[in-house]
């Protein structure tokens, strides 16, 4: 399998450039990390519509709230761990409670952030954002999908969280693929099990699936790029079909996609799921591939856990 390896944040930066061109209501904001989040591309081309607030996430979220009240569409951007954590109250009490059209973009999701260590790896962001009323939560799987998701979120009215990642990862969707908010994508169909995933860990899931195929197991792979609103239909459809499901995510076991799916299944169709996620612990420094393996999220480890589960 040969795929382009591109950081997902590049797709975001490219989409912002496009939005700069087609939608003059779009304002991009950053908290002193514009090079890292790729908002610097927009800043160079549209300096009058770029606001750097300095290292002040709480103020950034609420300045964005003020801009949104004037019909602007602010994309508030910084590391996911900082915006969702430090500015949670601002997101909750001003943005979501007032149902404002503010887009929160958290780059550097997951442990694959690597050497910066646990302080910089957002592993609880999906959970924190998903529990908020009025919020939409989107976790694209590669730079192509991040580009599409960003454009779609600019059209959506209301608060939204977009999770990005730092590391270059394999491109697993193509430009021609459709992208609809709230509608999961079936990446491949197989008859032996179903794997639901979200985010860039999809590249590892696909590798794991290739390994499984070598052992005669053909999985269906479903990309849950929208965590909220959750595509419940597809979850129930495949739960009924396979009677057990696998969920893979680069997020704490608590609060993320696995929690969301479990909640649907417990109520509607209780079956066993194998939830491959980060256990109750923080991340740490290391090379991304080393960390993924150590946390049970490398293709090799994913494959092994799936085999143990379905056999």
């Amino acid at each position: 399998m040969k795929k382009d390896i591109v950081p997902i944040r590049d797709g975001y930066g490219k989409a912002l450039l496009e939005l700069g061109e087609i939608n003059d209501k779009v304002i991009v904001m950053d908290a002193d990390l514009s090079t890292s989040t790729r908002t610097n591309w927009f800043a160079e081309k549209y300096p009058q519509r770029f606001v750097d607030v300095g290292i002040a996430e709480q103020n950034m979220v609420n300045v964005a709230a003020g801009l949104s009240l004037e019909d602007k569409i602010p994309f508030v951007t910084t590391y996911g761990v900082f915006v969702c954590g430090r500015a949670f109250d601002q997101i909750r009490n001003t943005v979501c409670y007032s149902d404002l059209n503010v887009k929160i973009v958290g780059s550097h999701g997951g442990i694959s952030v690597g050497p910066d260590g646990g302080s910089h790896q957002a592993i609880e962001d999906i959970g924190l954002m998903r529990i908020l009323p009025n919020m939409t939560v989107v976790v694209p799987c590669d730079h192509v999908q991040a580009y599409k998701a960003t454009l779609k979120l600019a059209e959506l009215k209301g608060p939204a969280y977009l999770r990005l990642a730092r590391e270059p990862t394999a491109t697993i969707t193509s430009e021609a693929d459709k992208f609809s908010l709230g509608k999961a994508d079936i990446l491949q169909k197989g008859n032996d099990c179903a794997i639901f995933f979200t985010g860039t860990i999809g590249a590892e899931v696909i590798k794991a699936s290739e390994m499984l195929k070598n052992e005669g197991i053909n999985p269906t792979i479903i990309n849950m790029h929208t965590i909220k609103p959750l595509d419940k239909e597809i979850i129930l459809e495949y739960a009924k079909k396979f009677k057990k499901l696998v969920v893979v995510e680069e997020h704490l076991r608590t609060g993320g996609l696995g929690s969301a799916i479990s909640s649907v299944l417990t109520e509607k169709y209780p079956i066993r799921i194998k939830h491959i996620a980060i256990e109750d612990r923080f991340g740490e420094s290391g090379q991304p591939e080393v960390l993924l393996d150590a946390f049970g999220l490398s293709a090799r480890k994913i494959k092994k856990q799936i085999l143990d589960f379905i056999q």
Binding site: Q48, R49, V51, V53, G54, A56, Q58, N59, V61, N62, V63, A64, A65, G66, L67, S68, L69, E70, K72, D89, Q90, R92, N93, T94, Y97, S98, D99, L100
Partner: protein
């Protein structure tokens, strides 16, 4: 002072008395709420809504209106009394304060109340929203002004200082912050809980123009707004020295009346003290 100005101030004083009565009645009816910080800011609110700000209560979304953000959201009773008096909704709504299905939530919810720009209640957030509005006006070359009322205890919040820094940096001279400097927060004297002084110098050092006034003297309040209107290049803050619980003898300067409703007898005494 001219005759006209005298008359205007007389009119404002009467409105303020009426609003103070409304505030106390609605809190007493609800059985809970925040009288202290509503009463301390009543004269400022009155001057804003009935002298200084441009708005049209029949068209709450009128693009040219001045924006008002109540950063100290617990002074909701004051805001509701002002909005009702200004005609945004019927005065009878005030009787439903804090009730189930009421548009008048314990703290202002913008999705329910016409005239409330944004929901507040969690302290420290309103000034940033106001700064966002002021920045937007600058970007779009609009002439509206933005006013934000802050509590002094609220200035303990770190985000307030982020917003102060941001507004000074961006030279938001269309932004006017007003600090309701009543010197009391829930746990007592602001200078004992978490000292704010020298407060005016702090704002100045963050590149704001400042003025300190008596927040119960309409002549001074109106003069401060005049100064704001001549202001340029920097945001403007009015530090309004006030008395918590102003107008009700037993509430004045008592931290205990921050968030407590008067009972029936207490209400009667208060209303008597607030007769025109």
């Amino acid at each position: 002072m001219t005759e006209r100005k005298n008359k205007k101030i007389e009119k404002l004083k009467n409105i303020a008395l009426e609003l103070r009565r409304d505030i106390l009645k609605m809190i007493a009816k609800a059985g809970s709420g925040h009288p202290g910080g509503s009463l301390s800011a009543t004269d400022i609110g009155t001057a804003l809504f009935f002298s200084e700000m441009k708005y049209d209560s029949n068209d709450p979304d009128w693009k040219e209106r001045d924006r008002f953000i109540l950063s100290k959201g617990h002074a909701a009773p004051l805001l509701y009394a002002l909005l009702a008096k200004a005609g945004y909704f019927s005065g009878s709504e005030l009787n439903k304060l804090r009730g189930y299905k009421s548009i008048l939530q314990g703290h202002p919810a913008s999705y329910l109340v016409p005239g409330v720009e944004v929901s507040t209640g969690s302290l420290g957030q309103g000034l940033s929203v106001a700064a966002g509005l002021a920045l937007s006006a600058k970007q779009d070359k609009k002439n509206f002004r933005v006013f934000s009322l802050l509590g002094d205890g609220e200035l303990n919040e770190g985000q307030i200082w982020e917003a102060i820094m941001f507004s000074g940096h961006n030279k938001l001279d269309n932004l006017c912050a007003i600090v309701d400097r009543n010197h009391l927060q829930i746990d007592g004297d602001t200078e004992k809980v978490m000292a704010l002084e020298p407060l005016e110098e702090k704002w100045q050092s963050f590149n704001w123009n400042t003025i300190s006034i008596n927040g119960h003297d309409f002549e001074e309040i109106l003069m401060a707004f005049e100064k704001f209107n001549q202001n340029s290049d920097k945001p403007f803050v009015i530090i309004a020295k006030t008395v918590k619980g102003k107008g009700v003898s037993y509430m004045e300067n008592k931290a205990g009346w921050h968030g407590k409703a008067p009972n029936r007898e207490q209400l009667e005494i208060a209303l008597k003290e607030l007769e025109n």
